[in-house]
Symmetry: C2
Subunit: 203 residues, 2 copies
Amino acid sequence: MNIACLDFEGVLIPEIWVGLAERTGIEELRATTREVPDYDQLMRQRLAVMKTHGLGLKDIQAAADALEPLPRALDFLNWLRTEYQVAIVSDTFYELAMPLVRKLGYPTLLCHKLQVGADGMIAGYTLRQPNPKRHAVLGFKSMQYKVMATGDSYNDVPMLREADRGWFFGPPDNVCRDHPDIPPVFGYDELKAVLLQAKRDFS
Amino acid sequence: MNIACLDFEGVLIPEIWVGLAERTGIEELRATTREVPDYDQLMRQRLAVMKTHGLGLKDIQAAADALEPLPRALDFLNWLRTEYQVAIVSDTFYELAMPLVRKLGYPTLLCHKLQVGADGMIAGYTLRQPNPKRHAVLGFKSMQYKVMATGDSYNDVPMLREADRGWFFGPPDNVCRDHPDIPPVFGYDELKAVLLQAKRDFS
């Protein structure tokens, strides 16, 4: 019995914080896990920039609301749901992700929570647990699932290594170069092909 | 962060094997986990009856295809998806459940697999693991989720006891009587109310 664990941003949806950067014109908000491998450092940096510019939860929620899933993402996901059980395993936050989850027909999403002050400003964030993507895979393995996983960036590496099969999805060159043992796939057609092969191999 | 684990038959959909009993007129197929607490015994009994009557996978799949979710089940599930992450935790089989999963918009389903012979007859079944419903709860707990669970029968008891909060959903008298410490709820409105209260309590 098989489950597919998909990273969210970069696999099914655009980068939410890049959307905020474009909406606000604040270039410092463009950084993602592709450039800053340490997620805590990245989030501290993002929240400091938001504070400086007086941006609160409603601003980043508006940026998230304005985004659409990547082209063909919903078709891919709907196909995948007929072949695999699916869980989105992401380092995003429920408060930002839910409009996009709705647009994708409410797949199960495992991610984190923001801490929002009474003034609507983001006071901090609560990671669900250390190494959350790897623990998601371990959790499904403890339920005796074979886990196939894909993601596009450094924070996906522990998930891809722990999974029974893991692939980078459209990764940038630096991510590939730093982890040459993790095979990359490009585009949904190639991802479908490796997922179908894995399903046959584990049946 | 919270997840709701729902039993499938009796909570969101009718009993699939009762549907087969009605379609075929074979009364012995009416037994469910409500009457036969030992699931292995129940499944051996069902498969023996199917063999005697020459019924194969296509017959029970046709019975499953003909079923619809319970009245208001889709509305309830769509509401729940906006309030909780959701996993269906069932002792059914993927081969039978998928038409009903489709009708409910593909929620994540954790269940089992049938073994089907080349002749289309059901040769047996593979339970994902011993005590699968309890292990599903433990798996989500290992991902640091608070788990709320509901189900209508004996096989749900280990899940309801392991969950942070667990309720019987519209249980028959014998199930309630045998487990008086597990609170029952009746109908989706009452289930919504306890789930919302639990969400507040764990936030």
